[in-house]
């Protein structure tokens, strides 16, 4: 269910950014630590100044913005916080609750797909007298937790108590399509709490990170299995990310479907609809297989496995693996059970479905024509309902192409995003962003192709072919080349291309 899901989730993220709640302090906050100053002292205030890129004008950055969050000290003189606290950061200041002076911090690693980051502070005096917090385990539903952080409403560290409501897989809205384990709690988690620790029995059991505006007593934190994955991933100095199962499955709640697959009553599992090119299961699991177990964990007919006391989709099992680890599948194929082994892999193309941070947009400007690769950030210009409002060809490529044309799964789509008006191009018909099929008879599959196509033309005209009913367009080649620099100057564009994000 990746395609539709990603469309809807991305839409959701746009909504979040547009409807950021008023930063109002929660009335039920209780100041002061319940578990002694040991915890509070290791919670830090994080102030960030950020300047992201402007995907509608990819050559420029946005105005600087301030943001506040929380973090906490772990072993090795490092501070854990949320990726969304430090996304696009240009300056990060951390402050201990018992000190007035903020120190400059740097990002050691950031995992936007898990909304986690690790910060470093160069100044060793910052850590004097501070003990790192230790990591605990996944808390049980119904148990009590304490959240620590710097929510709006005061300067001091604040803590609140709550109950673990449930454990589930849920979308991480910072990145968009990624889903990992989350824990829901009724402890107050408010703006400013982001990145703060959630504590049980003196140990950290999660990192506060997201909530629903308008829903009281409903906050979410990133549980320890996800945090540990991130930290273990980092141990070799490079961040590889989380594996993608590459499995599109349906529950097997239908007895008819189970019988049709020949699945004995004693077995349970989910049916594999499709195996995504490049995912962990690619080349190993086949469509029509019934997935019985992953790494020895049995999958129920509704697609869930037991995690602590909770039942969560089997996809959570892939979060327990690092890229390159072996993953064992048990499948029912034909008349028998088959054991399969695969290597955990990450699907790089899914980055194009994520919200992008800390990366500059790629683009090429030629004679005022702005070309960019199709990705989620680009589609946001159509608003939160882009899946319904954007050019339909672009939506098809973004959401449906992988499934309908798996052989083209990794194809890059180049979009003519904008025309910077100049007499050389202003007579062109341009009614909004449109996919480019070919330029000067060269099929366009990358920004490099755009450059090559315009560079290689021999004729008097550059001919551009669009997808769908948008037809074709042409530029007078010599005039276009002559106008290129002038257009860049007029529109204050210092570089006519950025090929690496």
């Amino acid at each position: 269910m990746r395609r539709a899901t990603s469309a809807f989730v991305t839409a959701l993220v746009a909504a979040v950014a547009l409807s950021a709640p008023d930063p109002v302090a929660h009335a039920s906050e209780v100041s002061g630590a319940h578990e002694g100053n040991g915890i509070s002292a290791s919670v830090v205030h994080v102030q960030v100044y950020r300047s992201g890129f402007d995907w509608s004008m990819p050559w420029r950055q946005k105005a600087v913005q301030g943001a506040l969050g929380s973090g906490f000290l772990i072993a090795g003189g490092r501070i854990v916080t949320n990726a969304h606290v430090v996304a696009d950061a240009r300056q990060i200041l951390v402050r201990r609750p018992d000190q007035a002076n903020p120190r400059i911090a740097t990002v050691e690693a950031v995992a936007h797909d898990a909304d986690l980051a690790v910060l470093r502070v160069e100044d060793p005096t910052f850590f004097e007298g501070l003990g790192p917090l230790t990591l605990g385990e996944l808390p049980r539903a119904g148990s009590q937790v304490l959240t620590y952080g710097f929510p709006l409403g005061g300067q001091d560290v604040s803590s609140t108590a709550g109950i673990v409501s449930r454990v589930e897989m849920r979308s991480y809205v910072h990145s968009g399509p990624d889903a990992h384990l989350v824990v829901q709690t009724d402890a107050a988690i408010n703006p400013g709490n982001s990145g703060g620790p959630v504590v049980q029995d003196g140990r950290v059991v999660g990192v506060a990170f997201q909530g629903f505006p308008g829903f009281d007593n409903m906050g979410f934190f990133i549980p320890i299995p996800v945090v540990r994955h991130f930290l273990q991933d980092l141990e070799d100095g490079t961040l590889d990310g989380f594996p993608d199962s590459g499995l599109e499955t349906s529950p097997l709640l239908s007895p008819a479907y189970r019988r049709e697959r020949g699945l004995p009553e004693s077995h349970s599992g989910v049916v594999v609809n499709r195996v995504v090119p490049g995912g962990t299961a690619d080349g190993v699991v086949e469509p029509g297989d019934v997935l019985l177990e992953v790494d020895g964990q049995k999958i129920a007919n509704d697609g869930t496995v037991g995690v602590g006391d909770a039942r969560v989709t089997f996809q959570t099992l892939f979060d327990a693996r690092q890229i390159g680890d072996a993953v064992r599948f048990g499948v029912w194929r034909g008349e028998r059970e088959v054991e399969l082994t695969a290597t955990a892999r990450r699907v790089a193309r899914y980055d194009g479905m994520r919200n992008r941070y800390d990366v500059a947009p790629r683009y090429v400007v030629h004679a005022g024509l702005v070309f960019m690769p199709l990705e989620a950030e680009l589609l946001k210009m159509f608003g939160r309902n882009w899946a319904q409002n954007a050019n339909r060809d672009l939506v098809w490529h973004q959401v449906f192409r992988e499934a309908e044309r798996p052989e083209e799964a990794d194809r890059e789509v180049i979009v003519l995003v904008r025309v910077l008006r100049h007499s050389v191009n202003s007579q062109m018909s341009f009614t909004g962003p449109v996919a480019v099929e070919a330029i000067n008879s060269l099929p366009i599959r990358s920004l490099e192709d755009v450059i090559e196509a315009f560079g290689s033309c021999e004729g008097r005209f550059d001919e551009i072919v669009f997808e769908g009913d948008a037809g074709i367009e042409a530029l007078d080649r010599e005039k276009a080349k002559a106008a290129h620099e002038e257009i860049l100057q007029q529109y204050a564009i210092t570089h006519d291309r950025r090929l690496q994000g």
Binding site: A256, N273, R392, M428, D469
Partner: protein, 523 residues
């Protein structure tokens, strides 16, 4: 990154808006300046209403009647049932041959038509003798000869005025014939109701509201058009020459419909593009980007052709031509205005650098010839309920159940509409949907499935409801297997043949489905 597996999780996400807990100061403003598509020039604000100056004379009163139509649409979500019925008063124009002419979409799923003239207390039964939704236009006969006493056809203007004052005649519920002042804003090529055909159209500005029910527009005691609906800040009327054509051909018993070009095209406003295509300095035209299989140019023209002239009339680079009377008009009008299917039209094109004139046979395109019919009249939805799964053709009436469907409909169905609506193929004349599920023991586990495009049933490709019916007759052993266009879960589902059969009575009783298959309901 995780795949989410259930429709429920999507609904869940959509219902609840999550927010990051970073405290952003100032609040994040994510909305970038949108890349606005180039806007069409918007008409200037309407002129202030002019005072009433047209006084109705007796002549006009005897040419305008009230038509009351009762109808009922099908409910496309539960395609075996109908919507609540409606009754609508519209205005009718008396035309020669003892007929009443109306320009209204009401004549599609009508059940009862009654007419009333000024002074009548009772309504007289009428009969629709001809209706063409591509007007939309309808002719009504009244069999009671007494009804026609004192009624006189009104003269139809030809040409119609391009400007000036008009009176808009509308029948009030009180039995009063009202006249509102208005003025003609422009004459253009326009589409009306659900029609896809461009017809000669009058835009009328008026202070009156709630129009568009075939009100009669009069200037100088002649009828200049019948109002069909709103067009931005004005009201649109089908102009009299079109009415005249319809009435005359219908009177001869030989209405063949309005012909239509049947293609998509692009502007050639860019001189570089024109030159690169090989057009001479003073030559203009438009370039075809798609040719539909059933239209006038099908088989004669192809994508990439540049249309230079139609019947010796030059087409400009924005697809307009200079009408001898009305000035600049969209060239789609050249295919319908005064033309009828059966004739031919000379189209001069530029193809591969060569100019040639092609005689294209004028054709109408019936709504039912489209892959996704724009409207469905004279029949109900084509559906079948199998094991509680509701299958039906994808049609625009189905899409309209999503309300503002172009912005609210299921994204994959919107893509299908954009790409395939008018391009059926012999193997795939229609798109078949699993539109919803009526939960039953036979379909346990599939309760939330909806709006999926069916690709195969029991191994057979599905391009029509007939394909589907046939495929369900030959199950794969003990099971029916339904496969959908991949990309949305589930991509495949399985029914037990025995269970499916056993479900029929249960589904019928539990959901009030008298006919599980629309075919069995037909004579």
């Amino acid at each position: 990154m995780r795949s989410r597996t259930t429709a429920a999780s999507r609904a869940d996400l959509a219902a609840l808006v999550a927010v990051l807990l970073t405290l952003a100061a100032p609040p994040v403003a994510r909305a970038q300046e949108p890349l606005a598509p180039e806007a069409e020039p918007v008409a200037a604000p309407a002129a202030p209403p002019t005072p009433a100056s047209t006084i109705l004379n007796a002549n006009l009163r005897s040419g305008v009647v009230r038509v009351q139509v009762t109808g009922q649409e099908w409910n496309w979500q539960t395609p075996w049932a109908k919507q609540p019925p409606w009754t609508r008063p519209i205005t009718g124009l008396v035309v020669p041959g003892q007929r009443i002419l109306c320009a209204s979409v009401a004549f599609g799923n009508h059940l009862l038509v009654e007419v009333q003239k000024l002074g009548d207390e009772a309504r007289t039964p009428g009969r629709v003798v001809l209706a063409d939704p591509e007007g939309p236009l309808a002719l009504i006969a009244v069999d009671d000869p007494d009804f026609w006493d004192d009624l006189e056809p009104l003269p139809l203007a030809d040409p119609v005025p391009r400007a000036g004052e008009v009176a808009i005649l509308r029948w009030r519920p009180s039995g009063l014939l009202d006249s509102y002042p208005g003025s003609v804003r422009q004459v253009r090529a326009g589409r009306h109701g659900l029609s896809r055909t461009h017809l000669l159209t009058l835009d009328v500005a008026t202070g009156a509201d709630g129009l568009g029910a075939s009100e009669v527009v009069v200037a100088d005691e002649k009828v200049v058009g019948l109002l069909t609906g709103r067009a931005r800040d004005t009201w649109a009327a089908i102009a009299s020459p079109v009415l005249e054509q319809f009435v005359a051909e219908a009177a001869g018993g030989d209405w063949r419909g309005f012909p239509r070009g049947g293609f998509a095209w692009q502007n050639l406003t860019n001189p570089a593009l024109r030159e690169s295509l090989g057009l001479a300095g003073d030559e203009t035209g438009v370039r075809l980007t798609r040719v539909l299989p059933h239209g006038t140019v099908a088989g004669a023209l192809q994508t990439g052709d540049v249309i230079l002239e139609v019947e010796d009339v030059p087409i400009d680079s924005t697809g307009h031509y200079d009408h001898p009377i009305y000035g600049r008009m969209l060239f789609a009008l050249l295919f319908s205005d005064g033309r009828r299917p059966g004739g031919t039209l000379d189209v001069k094109i530029l193809r591969d650098g060569e100019r040639r004139t092609v005689a294209t046979p004028l054709r109408r395109i019936q709504a039912e010839a489209d892959k996704i019919p724009p409207y469905v009249y004279g029949r109900g939805p084509d559906y079948a309920v199998v094991g509680g799964l509701v299958f039906q053709e994808l049609t625009v009436p189905y899409l309209t159940t999503f309300g503002d469907w172009q912005r609210r409909g299921p994204p994959r169905l919107l893509i299908a509409y954009e790409r395939e609506a008018a391009t059926p193929s012999p193997e795939s004349p229609r798109i078949v949907l699993l539109s919803s599920v009526l939960p039953d023991a036979a379909n346990l586990g599939y309760e939330g499935v909806r709006n999926l495009i069916v690709e195969r049933v029991n191994g057979r490709r599905i391009g029509s409801m007939d394909d589907l019916r046939e495929a369900f007759l030959s199950p794969e052993g003990r099971f029916h297997v339904v496969e959908f266009l991949p990309g949305l879960a589930p991509e495949r589902l399985v029914l037990d043949v025995e269970q499916t059969r056993a479900s029929e009575e249960r589904v019928r009783a539990a959901y009030g489905v008298d006919q599980l298959d629309s075919e069995s309901a037909r004579p």
